[in-house]
Symmetry: C2
Subunit: 251 residues, 2 copies
């Protein structure tokens, strides 16, 4: 049977209750839920190609995936049909019929992640699933200085796991911004990172390292030194998964 | 034993998993969880007076309550101690030691509620617990015109339940605003209502009636007629609980 129609979907999910993107023998996953929903529609196993794997607890406002269906369905109908088979914490926001050679992962030009930190005395009940709670003050200006040292094309070996299967650790970081919104109950800090691609744990390790700088546990220049060393032991902790959101994928 | 210290607390909660504010023999409630947390601290039953009862599924960003403790504890320590005994979807944001005659309900001068509507094709996974999903377009200008007819001092019998225990249905609505935030995935519509007090289901019935106007199911002038009639049957449906949030109580 010829696989006829290549669909690109844009997905949002609250990762709180999932074991990440990638399908696993046990435990709920985003890919697993989506493939189950699609297989119910196409009456056969459908394989979904995601733009990137998100870890357990990571959220998405703009994950992208593609898959082939035997038959052609209008994008709006397909979106409704998939959403009808999904739990409410996973939603297909958009469906497009694309050229056969479109691949959500290999065609991606850039990805943007957001890492949220809530800095205050008490974390509001609406935020604890989506933001890292940091009780003490943060020196955001120092964090911004340190962030500027990570911008550009570098070998990011110091900011990924040593045993990663990916051999080439050179990535180009085109944006690493830190915005602050002051509210009555505290500060919402958002670290926004855009690159041509990210290594495993890269955003979370950058966030953890920048947090160390904000807390005064690490000097600005040490971040540049960690990067240059290529040694994971010189960077900070991998910040918790629930603060991370995949914001968008550009093609 | 003399009850010594009167504490005023400001509370936020995600009402999704609760049977409302008021303590019940069965089912989790906000008041029940708070009283349990306080009783663990004071080693005796503590009674909490809330500014107002919120229904099952309703949220709060600024609910207020007061209670007396046998001993005096500094507000910050008390806040930490209560939060340590609470689930994460209920948080005490602020604690104040107040005069003995302060009563969260009887001392309240005004309350402000927000009713959230998400108008778009797909409700994002981060919104379905907090906003009513409305798929079709809404005529927000017509809703605003209708809202202006409800402003001021009126008998709101048409916007509450007939069998309410409260006999006096006259309330003064000092604010009923509708704001719209356009986003890529849809419109976020917020109805903000401030009054000296609200009758049972009053905000939700106003929201349901304004929604009818937005959808073109009800004319603007019919809202004024419903109000004047004092007959519940002339107003719209009680909009779903999960869109409602108690934003603040003023003293």
């Amino acid at each position: 049977m010829r696989e006829k129609s290549n669909y690109k979907i844009t997905i949002q999910y609250d990762g709180t209750n999932y074991h990440g993107w990638q399908i696993q023998p046990r435990g709920l996953t985003i890919q697993g839920e989506l493939q189950r929903a699609l297989s119910l529609l196409d009456h056969r196993a459908v394989t979904l190609h995601g733009a990137g794997r998100t870890d357990a607890g990571v959220h998405a406002e703009g994950q992208v995936a593609n898959f082939f269906l035997e038959r052609e369905i209008t994008p709006t109908k397909l979106r409704e049909a998939i959403n009808g088979n999904l739990p409410r914490d996973i939603r297909v926001m958009d469906v497009e019929l694309v050229a056969d050679d479109f691949h959500a992962r290999f065609s991606a030009q850039a990805k943007t992640y957001g890492y949220k930190i809530f800095s205050g005395e008490v974390i509001p009940p609406f935020d604890y699933r989506y933001a890292l709670f940091h009780r003490d003050k943060l020196d955001v200006e120092a964090m911004r200085e340190a962030a500027s040292l990570l911008m550009g094309q570098h070998d990011f070996s110091a900011f990924t796991v040593a045993d990663s299967e990916v051999k080439d650790h050179v990535r180009t970081l085109t944006r690493l911004e830190i915005s602050v919104a002051e509210e009555k109950s505290g500060k919402r800090i958002l670290i926004t990172a855009t690159a041509d691609g990210f290594l495993r744990y890269m955003v979370r390790t950058m966030a953890g390292t920048l947090l160390d700088v904000g807390r005064g546990f690490r000097k600005v220049e040490e971040v540049g030194e960690a990067l240059a060393s290529g040694d994971r032991r010189n960077a900070g902790q991998t910040a918790k998964a629930h603060g991370l959101t995949l914001l968008r994928v550009d093609y």
